[in-house]
């Protein structure tokens, strides 16, 4: 069965520092992978997605993620974090045999300190 693991429940970084949020998936074939951000009081917003091709994908707000098949990972990165990046981040996977069902991780809460 498909699943997504986000090992870090909560991360705190200083403003201006780099960020990496981890995501590991379980799926037998090439998955479709997504990162969503949920800001307080707002709905989930898509940051970026991977379907195929270039394994390094660029998203909005300066985020990027790299698909590594050998590690079953799709980690999210940002070179310099802004205070407005404080939010909950969710990784999601859709497999070719899961119909239209998205599997979401439990999320990583990001705190940014000045």
């Amino acid at each position: 069965a498909q699943s997504v693991t986000q090992p870090d429940i909560h991360i705190t970084v200083s403003e201006g520092a780099s960020l990496e949020l981890r995501c590991n998936y379980s799926y037998g074939a090439t998955p479709y992978l997504f990162w969503y951000v949920q800001s307080p009081g707002q709905g989930l917003q898509l940051l970026l997605k991977y379907f195929s091709g270039d394994t390094l994908v660029q998203g909005i707000k300066g985020f990027e993620a790299e698909f590594k098949r050998s590690q079953s990972s799709f980690n999210l990165r940002k070179p310099s974090v802004h205070w407005s990046d404080a939010a909950e981040y969710f990784c999601a996977v859709v497999g070719s045999n899961t119909g239209n069902q998205f599997y979401f991780g439990t999320g990583t809460s990001l705190t940014v300190i000045p």
Binding site: V4, F34, G41, L44, L46, Q101, F102, F104, G107
Partner: protein, 115 residues
Amino acid sequence: GAGVSQSPSNKVTEKGKDVELRCDPISGHTALYWYRQRLGQGLEFLIYFQGNSAPDKSGLPSDRFSAERTGESVSTLTIQRTQQEDSAVYLCASSTRGGRPETQYFGPGTRLLVL
């Protein structure tokens, strides 16, 4: 254009009561999804609608949960005889076509508290 809207934004109910949650998808989006997000947990898939096809109900946790959608418009999620464990944020999302891997656009959610 307008995004996905959900109502009510908050709902407090007593155990055993029925509740109805509403979702208005983005106009033209044929696919609609319902998710449940319990405190501190990820999103749990509940049900998926695609056009006039039979809905995918595989995520509904019990027969107390049901959902309807009229055509490609509004959807309602009904929880009968609510229990305290039903307390959660219920999120609705819509997408075009419904074919994988379409981006889902989420509403702000309905926060349900069952006392």
